[in-house]
């Protein structure tokens, strides 16, 4: 590999600063006491404490999964602090009262708040180390009956809704990390779109992990009632620490008849340094239930950060004619590892799913696509189309594809296409001979490669994702 390729990936992490706010941190370790403490701190009803304890009991019987194509030292779950909340000076009535230090952090992160939020048409629910600090645009949304708040607030104000749906798509014992999350989640977002309402703006949450040695376990719940639709954006960053941090979130989406939920993520957690020290372990369970007829669940993700990513945003297509979509770009560099993909579970008649996955590996990184398409006996005339493309930048990285296809109904049509390409020296020389340097060349090639996924993102996110990718790959070509 030539020197031009080498130079393009090694840029420092831009979001690597720690905000100096007093945090209230629970002692390290996990036991029933910790869980009772979290629940009490948050003033939770008994049913939620029961939910947590049930999950904890399940978790004790489970072991960490090891089938995924990633490698990392065993996590000591007793070394993690399960609760960290920025200590509020007093109750916050408006944005002006938010800790200025915090606001500066958001500014550095480029979180669109205040007028910027208004201009971009974005309502931001900011999750800062597990506790929602400020929520904008709530009133405007409230006029339409839309609920958009932290899950803690939802537990207090809309307990029946939360109780009905939490754990409905991802049961407490679904998998090791989902069980852990169910036991200890501290905050997250809640979104409810009532019948017939099309949410007039994209709803956005920025997640950021701030305290060293703290795990982050958010819980997100999005419900779209009959005929409702919503587009939800999630952006993630974390500061730079030498130790690894665990991020084990659970996201549940529920779409009723004719409802439509589009969930987009741009993930830029700290990935560790160029020698693979530090970085976030991103072990996330995301699942959508297309419950009603003609409903649609659509996942779009751009995964650029984290030392290890392990996530499979999935769709359960229960309603007849329901639609599931998964559009993914996963970029790995240096020593990053990603094992990501989706599951499309077809239960209803005429259900359709589309999977477009683009994996880009640079440096010494490894990325795997893992996907399951299951057509149940009840899924008459189900259709799936999957396309998994991998692109290698340089000679030391790897890309792998693990498609699992289970068809139990003869009327099904399932198509799978896969390709692997490489940004070659010859391509870069071709660009160079036309006056274009390697960085611009890689950026153009990679953006071309990801085009079908970027087209799915809302405008501002697409711009951000394009920049992030170029930034991420700077120095990887040489």
């Amino acid at each position: 590999m030539s020197a031009v390729l080498q130079n393009l990936v090694n840029q420092p992490y831009r979001h690597g600063f720690v905000t100096d706010i007093e945090s209230e941190i629970a002692p390290k370790g996990l036991n029933e006491e910790t869980i009772r403490l979290i629940s009490a701190k948050k003033n939770e009803p008994d049913w939620l404490l029961d939910f947590r304890l049930k999950a904890y009991q399940k978790w004790l019987t489970m072991s960490e999964p090891s089938w995924q194509n990633v490698h990392y030292p065993k996590i000591d779950f007793q070394e993690i602090s399960y609760y960290a909340a920025p200590k509020p000076k007093k109750k916050l009535a408006s944005m002006d009262e938010v800790d200025p230090e915090l606001l500066r952090t958001f500014e550095k992160l480029g979180v669109p708040m205040h007028e910027r939020a208004a201009l971009a048409g974005v309502a931001v629910d900011v999750v800062f180390d597990s506790v929602s600090v400020a929520t904008t645009y709530k009133e405007k949304l409230a006029e339409l009956g839309i609920i958009f708040c932290s899950i803690s607030e939802a537990v207090q104000k809309h307990p029946d809704l939360v109780r009905e749906y939490i754990g409905a798509v991802v049961p407490v014992g679904d998998n090791f990390y989902a069980a852990l999350n169910s036991a200890v989640f501290t905050d997250g977002s809640f979104c409810y779109i009532p019948k017939g309402i099309k949410c007039p703006m994209d709803l956005s949450t920025y997640f950021r992990i701030n305290t060293e040695g703290s795990g982050q376990f958010e819980r997100t719940l999005v419900i779209a009632e009959e005929g409702a639709s919503v587009s939800y954006l999630e952006g993630c960053t974390a500061p730079q620490f030498d130790t690894n941090q665990l991020h084990a979130a659970v996201v549940e989406l529920i779409a009723m008849d004719n409802a439509d939920i589009k969930y987009s993520t741009v993930q830029n957690w700290y990935a560790g340094d160029e020698n693979g020290i530090g970085g976030i372990y991103n072990f996330v369970t995301k699942r959508g239930l297309a419950k009603g007829v003609n409903s649609r669940i659509s996942w779009t993700q751009v995964e650029t950060g984290a030392a290890i990513t392990w996530k499979y945003p999935s769709c359960i297509l229960r309603g007849d004619n329901s639609v599931g979509e998964f559009y993914s770009v996963a970029v790995t560099n240096h020593h990053q590892q990603a094992d990501t993909g989706t599951k499309m579970i077809h239960l209803g008649k005429n259900t359709r799913s589309t999977i477009i996955s683009k994996g880009i590996s640079a440096g010494k990184s490894n990325s795997s696509y893992r996907g399951l398409v299951r057509i149940a006996p009840t899924a008459e005339n189900a259709r799936n189309f999957s396309q998994c493309d991998s692109m290698l930048v340089g000679n030391q990285c790897g890309a792998h594809t693990f498609p699992y296809i289970q068809v139990r109904n003869h009327s099904a049509k399932v198509e799978h296409e896969a390709s692997t390409s490489k940004i070659g020296e010859d391509q870069l020389f071709y660009f160079a001979q036309r006056g274009i340097d390697a960085e611009e060349a890689v950026s153009m090639i990679v953006n071309g490669f990801c085009k079908e996924v970027f087209q799915q993102l809302p405008m501002e996110f697409a711009v951000e994702a394009t920049k992030l990718l170029s930034f991420k790959l700077e120095g990887s070509v040489g």
């Binding site: 020296e425 020389f429 071709y430 001979q433 036309r434 006056g435 274009i436 340097d437 090639i445 071309g448």
Partner: protein, 264 residues
């Protein structure tokens, strides 16, 4: 065409280059002046493409001896993109495919990058569209070609026309055409030749690498050089190409004339 008040564009002295430990160019001498067209002929494997790539700064090749002056500057001190910006253009023997990148996008980036570096105005997408469509007429290209990915799924002829189109856009001082004629049917060859003749003027120069006399009927060279084992072993006028066509390359060995490399 050879004229008296022309400037030296390229001056290659005793050029040696190797790749992976093997020396491929073994002492090339060549001087090219403005207004001239030079043909380089020779058997497969004689080092013609290597010479072209070394001029363009391909990172696979290391220059071990000799000098290259381009318009009185040391060409070897420049990166490949700087050489392109300075006015060296290589029409590739095997143009590279770039899936996912639209030709229009690629051409505009190349054009604007080179323009900026030459201190000229960039064109916005609409202006560029008009500009490129005008140039495409010269090469009789279909408009849909702009929306397709760079060279992906192009026929051999389309790829070669795309190279000449890029030359038309970038207006190089020195155009090096590496077997642009191979794989073209006679109609396509005529179109490409017409394009090249249109671009050739008294201020620039062209090096044509070819196997065949055929192309030289349409683009008439001022000099013909024969390359063998990494050296220029014979230089003559356009009639040398005809003699080679008639007698074959072995004939050169039986008729050793002066084997000096430098022209004029």
């Amino acid at each position: 065409m050879i004229n008296n008040d022309s400037q030296t564009i390229l001056d290659v002295q005793n050029l040696h280059a190797s790749t992976q430990g093997a020396e491929i160019l073994k002492g090339i001498n060549l001087t090219v002046k403005s207004g001239e067209i030079h043909a380089i002929m020779g058997l497969n494997g004689s080092g013609k493409s290597t010479f072209a790539k070394v001029l363009a700064g391909h990172p696979d090749y290391e220059v071990t001896q000799g000098t290259i002056q381009f318009e009185q500057h040391d060409l070897l001190a420049l990166s490949s993109e700087e050489r392109a910006q300075a006015g060296i253009f290589l029409a590739f023997q095997y143009p590279i495919e770039i899936p996912g990148v639209a030709n229009s996008q690629f051409l505009r980036l190349a054009y604007n990058t080179v323009q900026t570096n030459r201190g000229r105005e960039e064109l916005d997408p609409l202006e560029f569209d008009d500009f490129v469509r005008e140039k495409m007429k010269l090469l009789e290209m279909k408009p849909d070609f702009l929306d397709r990915s760079v060279n992906e799924g192009f026929s051999g002829g389309e790829k070669k026309r795309n190279e000449i189109l890029q030359m038309a856009l970038l207006e190089p001082k020195l155009g090096i055409l590496d077997e642009t004629d191979s794989g073209l049917d006679i109609d396509a060859l005529k179109i490409v030749a017409k394009g090249v003749n249109h671009l050739s003027n008294k201020d620039n120069a062209i090096i044509l690498i070819t196997h065949y006399q055929r192309l030289l009927e349409h683009i008439v060279p001022d000099y013909v050089h024969v390359m063998e084992a990494g050296r220029i072993i014979r230089t003559g006028g356009k009639e040398l190409a005809l003699e080679l066509e008639t007698h074959g390359y072995d004939w050169l060995h039986n008729n050793p004339k002066n084997s000096a490399g430098a022209s004029a």
